[in-house]
């Protein structure tokens, strides 16, 4: 199915997933206007949100199944496998977050079904980021996502910590958005266009590879994106915000938000700046700083939530290695790693959400002692997550790291590859104690884990994630093929898109 995006009908077809999700979000907003008082209303809203994610994913699948492709001059939205796969990732993460939040919201008495509306809108923003082939669309998606997540971070209005997190995230996020926008403005100034494919073509035809204006613009773009993915040295907000936000929201921020920023970064670098080599060094430097900084600081954390926050920073560093590799295997590894990391981190935050109780979510690692005897399945799931984050063979985390390592080696980035392995070893110093405490220490009291219960929905979500982790760890081929196809689609269509009309 070839879509001519200059025709309204074809453009609407290409935008069908986004339109679908917008429609659902508006419907949910109206429903919520009437029903926002009881726990039952929360469940209704959650159910509608799940239906929204499921139908939108089905529409994306329909486009993918018909191998939809774009044709026409410099479209605003891309129609390629990369967009479909990242859409699935965002929608899946959103759906899992809904499952995890149902019980949590009721337990914490957060009777605000707007939570799910904001979740839908932020996923909509992510889809625009992953699919936008114009810097303006990417920026629009980024703002839509960010504004929703600012509110989600502070949705617990009774908690001063959450308010602090939301305000901090908002102020710094707005600042980072300004950097990004200024970068877009300078790139526009240098090339005369905001379309990614056209920027790429202009850079080649005008020989702008070392143009000052373009490089400054590119650097500002990188600052904006590095902030969103929490890469060192733009990570200062992350631990505090992750710590203060409600735990399911933290899980969502650490996975989907980060994945969306990475997807947009990857598309921008791959399509607009493929011939501008300057960013390879910047991204490599960011990767080194992020891997070292994230892992070393994570070692010192006693709180499980803060440890996971720093661990997510460290993982951003690993993904940056895949970005810096800049070759085909790096691109394939990139999407694979995002999926593996998302499943792992979301499950870990889900388990953390049930352990932290009664509004106080400050769970120390030592609080987990004896979990294995009291709640063997929970402990097992958390252990699998920790092993996958560590990159233990047999889990998806290992395969992801392995592919990144291969990509880095292929592009002769030996330093990055060596550092990735070394920092992974360091990370064992904070992942393994979690397992050790759970399995080798007795519970401090008989009732220490009495109220730790996942509930049916969250249990299903965690089971899904853990089974996925183990499955992709043993049979990664299908997922790798899919992500390789997605990465490939990002590289090929530019030539067709750049051809001026009438040629």
């Amino acid at each position: 199915m070839t879509l001519d995006l200059s025709l309204t009908r074809d453009l609407l077809t290409a935008l069908l997933p986004e339109l679908m999700l917008t429609g659902w979000a508006l419907v949910l907003l109206v429903v919520v206007a009437w029903r926002h008082r009881t726990g039952g209303d929360l469940r209704v809203a959650g159910g509608i949100a799940l239906a929204a994610f499921a139908t939108t994913a089905a529409v994306v699948w329909w486009l993918w199944w018909n191998s939809a492709a774009a044709q026409g001059y410099a479209p605003m939205i891309a129609v390629d496998d990369f967009r479909f796969i990242s859409d699935w990732l965002f929608l899946g993460t959103g759906a899992l977050t809904v499952l995890l939040s149902m019980r949590y919201l009721e337990r914490e008495a957060l009777l605000a079904p707007e939570y799910y509306v904001l979740l839908l809108f932020s996923v909509l923003g992510m889809m625009l980021m992953g699919g936008g082939s114009d810097l303006m669309v990417v920026f629009l998606g980024l703002e839509l996502m960010s504004v929703s997540v600012y509110v989600l971070a502070g949705i617990n209005r009774k908690s001063p910590k959450a308010a602090e997190a939301a305000l901090k995230y908002f102020l710094l996020g707005a600042f980072a958005s300004a950097f990004l926008l200024y970068g877009i403005a300078l790139v526009y100034g240098a090339t005369g266009t905001t379309n990614l494919a056209l920027i790429g073509a202009q850079v080649t035809s005008l020989h702008l590879e070392h143009g000052t204006l373009l490089l400054i613009g590119l650097a500002l773009l990188l600052v904006g994106f590095a902030f969103k993915v929490a890469a060192v040295p733009f990570h200062m907000w992350a631990p505090d915000v992750y710590d203060g936000a409600p735990t399911p929201v933290t899980g969502f921020m650490a996975t989907a938000v980060k994945a969306a920023a990475f997807a947009a970064l990857f598309r921008v670098l791959g399509q607009a700046f493929a011939t501008t080599v300057a960013w390879h060094q910047i991204v490599s430097a960011l990767a080194v700083a992020t891997m070292v900084g994230g892992n070393l600081v994570a070692l010192a954390q006693r709180s499980l939530k803060r440890m996971l926050a720093y661990s997510s920073i460290a993982h951003a560093g690993y993904v940056l290695v895949a970005v810096a590799a800049g070759n085909a295997s790096g691109s394939a590894a990139f999407l694979f790693y995002l999926v593996a990391y998302t499943l792992t981190t979301l499950a870990a935050f889900a388990l953390l959400a049930v352990k932290g109780r009664g509004g106080e979510s400050d769970v120390l690692i030592d609080d987990l002692s004896g979990l294995a005897t009291e709640r063997p399945w929970l402990a097992f799931a958390l252990a699998v997550c920790m092993l996958s984050l560590l990159g233990f063979p047999g889990t998806a985390g290992f395969m992801g790291k392995w592919y990144i390592l291969v990509a880095a080696a292929q592009s002769a980035q030996w330093w990055l590859a060596a550092l990735l392995v070394l920092t992974s070893v360091v990370s064992a110093g904070y992942y393994l104690p979690v397992i050790m405490v759970m399995y080798m220490r007795p519970a401090p009291s008989a009732a220490a884990h009495a109220d730790v219960r996942l509930g049916r929905l969250a249990g299903a979500a965690v089971t899904l994630a853990v089974v996925g982790l183990l499955f992709f760890g043993i049979r990664p081929n299908r997922l790798l093929d899919l992500s390789a196809a997605g990465a490939e689609s990002l590289r090929t269509p530019t030539a067709a898109a750049v051809a001026p009309p009438g040629n």
Binding site: T8, L26, L29, V30, V32, A33, W34, H36
Partner: protein
């Protein structure tokens, strides 16, 4: 060269003359019965003296935010109207323009319904 800007100059002059005329006329013609309260400087209905670091009710911010949202709607309607009623383009294009604006208004309508039902428009 500056001739196209003549209407702006005229408008500017008219506005200044209009304002000056109104204030001047009411000063000359209007009756004056001063009291101490009336002589106090006007400060939007608040007591004019006291600490400037008072806390405002959050409702003011809410109203201001909602005002901006619906104000922008009106601002969008005006350029749309000049294009739509200017009649540039064929019937198909006009239909597209109309549907686009209706969708925009519907989305804002959803926001309005939400704000209303959630009680953000009620002061108490």
């Amino acid at each position: 060269m500056l001739r196209p800007y003549l209407p702006f100059l005229l408008l500017l002059l008219f506005v200044v003359a209009n304002a000056a005329g109104m204030i001047g006329l009411s000063h000359l013609v209007g009756p004056k019965r001063p009291t101490p309260l009336k002589d106090a400087p006007y400060e939007s209905g608040m007591p004019p003296l006291g600490s400037a670091r008072e806390r405002f009710s959050i409702k003011f911010y809410l109203v201001a935010m909602l005002f901006i949202v619906f104000d922008i709607e009106t601002v969008f309607l005006i350029p749309w109207g000049t294009i739509y009623f200017g009649g540039a383009g064929g019937a198909l294009r006009m239909g597209f323009l109309l549907v686009e604006m209706l969708v925009f208004l519907a989305i804002l309508g959803v926001g309005y319904v939400y704000v209303w039902k959630r009680g953000a428009l009620q002061w108490d």
